[in-house]
């Protein structure tokens, strides 16, 4: 099963390497990983999306907790939480399709952040299903480039462990 794990870490050099080498060294899978400073510049939060059965997920959370630089590990899958991801898609629609691309972008509450004679670059934010739906709709128009941030997630207030 897929889990979204939020890891509060010391904002020191080498911490990302410790975490990624933990995953690679023990054969765990990382689907996505995103890192950024928190409000306190001494700490960062890593949001890791991983897959595994219950035993593996238990080991992953325990092994993460064991790292000295890890302050707190929360498996968000177990609590009510909000997930978001941002993607930038460069599409190259034919002249006739341009209006449709813009219309769909609006429906998905995306924004065109760059345009050229042949392409639009669309920024879109949302959870996984929304992003996947949008990507599928854009596919026929010709996606030239595609980049995603990886998931970030936060527990809903009142559900924090």
């Amino acid at each position: 099963m897929r889990h979204t794990i939020s890891v509060l870490v010391e904002n020191k050099f080498g911490v990302l390497a410790r975490i990624s080498s933990l995953f690679s060294g023990r054969g765990y899978n990382i689907e996505s990983l995103s890192v950024g400073e928190t409000i306190d510049p001494k700490t960062s939060i890593m949001t890791i999306v991983t897959t595994g059965d219950d035993r593996i997920i238990e080991q992953i959370t325990k092994q993460l907790n064991k790292l000295i630089d890890v302050i707190k590990v929360t498996d968000l899958t177990e609590v009510d939480h909000v997930e978001r991801e941002m993607v930038l898609i460069k599409v190259a629609p034919k002249q006739d399709d341009k209006a449709e691309v813009l219309r769909l972008t609006e429906i998905f509450r995306g924004r065109v952040v760059d345009s050229s004679p042949k392409t639009y670059t669309v920024e879109i934010t949302g959870d996984e299903s929304k992003i996947n739906a949008f990507v599928e709709l854009m596919r026929p128009f010709g996606i030239k480039e595609f980049v995603r941030t990886g998931k970030i997630a936060i527990a809903r207030e009142g559900f924090k462990k």
Binding site: V9, Q59, I68
Partner: protein, 578 residues
């Protein structure tokens, strides 16, 4: 007052109570070595290889319970510590390695003798540091010792760039260490301990399995109390040998691949395992799906990752072995004792029967020295009062089987990593800590050659380490597997040229002795034990055909043991057929 980084290193080590450092000099640590030149309180043992230094520090730590300290230079000096660090990491041994590093402004430039040792040792240390500012130095060293020695102990490496040890700063030694990401849990959950006590009271066929954690947490007294109070027999993993007296009537010895018949049978028939400070290594469990099929499992360990990693656990207790065992004994003392004693009588009787049926055994020979005989004689002639280290392979298993360890911290062996070349420098480290004790490395001719250069160190510091080589001209355990599982194709396990170890010893200024017949074994050992001021190499030319039994083949269940006896009978039959 301002101090240089090098002065801070020395000052911090002293404040941590360090008396001995094992090390090897080189370019970027010369400023630290310069301070050691006329220091009266800190003694550096100059080994002949950095790997020897780390194993020596590891042996020192295992024998004393105090952290072992290593000082090496950058690049190759640092990379040579990797095997030692991995060894200590797998066996949870507190070792602190200080490695030199090129100046911070050169890091990443492929400078002379530069290696990214923090990157290299990340997965084989408990934690590691690169100190980038002399202002962080004292705190980092304090943290390193704290991390190495608390919780589940382990090795910590501190990388010290040359400019950091040259720079000056105001010295401040923090009394207290606060790490918000590191808070080992020592006290076991009371409710869980009650559950464990409940299971112990109900069990009809219980066994305790004690591992190295019992030794790390100095919990032998508490373990013995538990065993004697409840009359539950005790199995010890390789790492746990000595945690409970091997001569005690409740001791079942070692389980696993080369464990005793009765320990393995006990696990497979048990209805309760009380596992303390052990981690269900594959060499202990055999085929995991058939491990202890009838047993409920209580697992006490300070490291939460050890629990439910390999086996299902019914009562997990995260905590320090000493405290949890103490609480468990207290809990059990509240309950009615007689009723469980009666229940267990039949179980103890059964175990007694198994012990009699298949003890560790070998056939004595008048002409050829059996390796097991050497270990037995070492035990008898030292009256068991010795610190024993081993190399890895057959020598290690025979030592574990035939030497009875009654006290913790008297058996030093690379259990997790299985490092050939560990035993001799580890013995040297133990001898540094206990100059007047008998310290013996039970070695093989292959393993001993992996760190043989440390003879020079032992001679230099007058360390009377005894090396008992069970010399069979083979990598014996490899040969055993090839014989049993690879159709007797002895691919590269025969050591064509084995040096004359007596001459080697003498060339180094040590004592060399040899026995080729069983009748000479006692004389050689007695002669060796007399030597108090230099190392002794005892070269025992042993039966090369001898194998370690019982054996649970890799991937088999614990009760699918090959017992030596059947094999021997089969061999005889085969011969008869031919």
């Amino acid at each position: 007052m301002k101090k240089t980084g090098a002065e801070i290193v020395i000052e911090c080590l002293k404040r941590e109570g360090v008396k001995h450092i094992f090390g090897y000099p080189g370019g970027v640590v010369l400023n630290i070595f310069d301070l050691l030149y006329d220091d009266k309180d800190l003694k550096l043992i100059l080994t002949r290889h950095e790997q020897g230094a780390v194993h020596a520090a590891d042996g020192y730590a295992r024998a004393t319970g105090k952290p072992g300290v290593v000082l090496v230079t950058s690049g190759p000096g640092a990379t040579n510590t990797v095997t030692g660090l991995a060894t200590a990491n797998m066996d949870s041994i507190p070792v602190v390695v200080l490695s030199g590093q090129v100046p911070t402004k050169l890091i990443g430039n492929d400078a002379f003798q530069e290696a990214d040792i923090v990157g290299i040792t990340r997965p084989c240390t408990k934690h590691n540091y690169l100190v980038k500012d002399v202002a962080d130095l004292a705190r980092t060293i304090r943290e390193a010792f704290y991390i190495a020695t608390t919780g589940r102990p382990g090795p910590v490496l501190i990388d010290l760039p040359k400019d950091v040890t040259n720079d000056k700063t105001n010295f401040h030694w923090p009394e207290k260490v606060t790490l918000r990401g590191y808070n080992p849990k020592y006290e076991g959950n009371k409710w869980m301990i009650k559950q464990a006590a409940g299971l112990i009271q109900k069990a009809k066929r219980p066994v305790i399995i004690a591992g190295g954690g019992v030794i790390s947490s100095n919990a032998s007294k508490e373990l013995r109390e538990l065993a004697e109070l409840t009359r539950i027999p005790v199995i010890m993993t390789l790492m746990g040998l000595g945690a409970f007296p091997g001569t005690h009537e409740l001791s079942l010895g070692m389980p696993g691949m080369h464990g005793s018949y009765y320990a393995n049978k006990a696990i497979q028939e048990a209805d309760l395992l009380v596992s303390v400070g052990m981690r269900f290594d594959d060499r202990v469990t055999g085929r995991i799906s058939d491990f202890a099929p009838h047993a409920k499992i209580v697992h006490i360990d300070i490291d939460p990752t050890s629990i439910r990693k390999n086996v299902r656990v019914d009562v997990p207790i995260v905590g320090d072995a000493k405290r949890v065992l103490r609480d468990l004994v207290q809990e059990l003392k509240k309950s009615e004792k007689k009723q469980w004693e009666a229940v267990k009588k039949a179980w103890l009787k059964q175990l007694e029967k198994w012990k009699k049926e298949h003890p560790y055994s070998y056939e004595f020979d008048e002409e050829v020295i059996k390796p097991q005989y050497v270990v037995e004689r070492l035990y008898d002639l030292t009256k068991g009062d010795a610190i024993i280290s081993t190399e890895v392979g057959q020598n290690q298993m025979w030592a574990a089987q035939f030497f009875k360890f009654d006290k913790p911290r008297t058996f030093l062996t690379s259990g997790g990593l299985g490092t050939m070349g560990y035993g001799f420098p580890a013995a040297m480290g133990a001898q540094v800590a206990f100059p007047n004790k008998t310290v013996i490395d039970i070695a093989g001719d292959g393993s001993f050659q992996m760190n043989i250069q440390e003879l020079a160190t032992c001679v230099t510091y007058k360390l009377p380490v005894k090396v008992a080589i069970l010399n069979n001209m083979y990598l014996g355990m490899v040969r055993q597997w090839q014989e049993l599982f690879y159709g007797e194709r002895y691919s590269y396990s025969y050591l064509d040229v084995v040096p004359d170890f007596v001459k080697v010893a003498e060339a180094y200024g040590a004592v060399g002795l040899r026995a080729t017949k069983p009748s000479e074994v006692d004389d050689v050992i007695k002669e060796a034990l007399k030597v108090k001021d230099k190392p002794v190499v005892m070269d025992f030319i042993v039966d090369w055909k001898e194998k370690v039994y019982p054996m649970v083949p890799a991937g088999a269940a614990l009760d699918e043991m090959i017992l030596g006896e059947e094999k021997k009978k089969k061999e005889k039959k085969l011969r008869a057929v031919k």
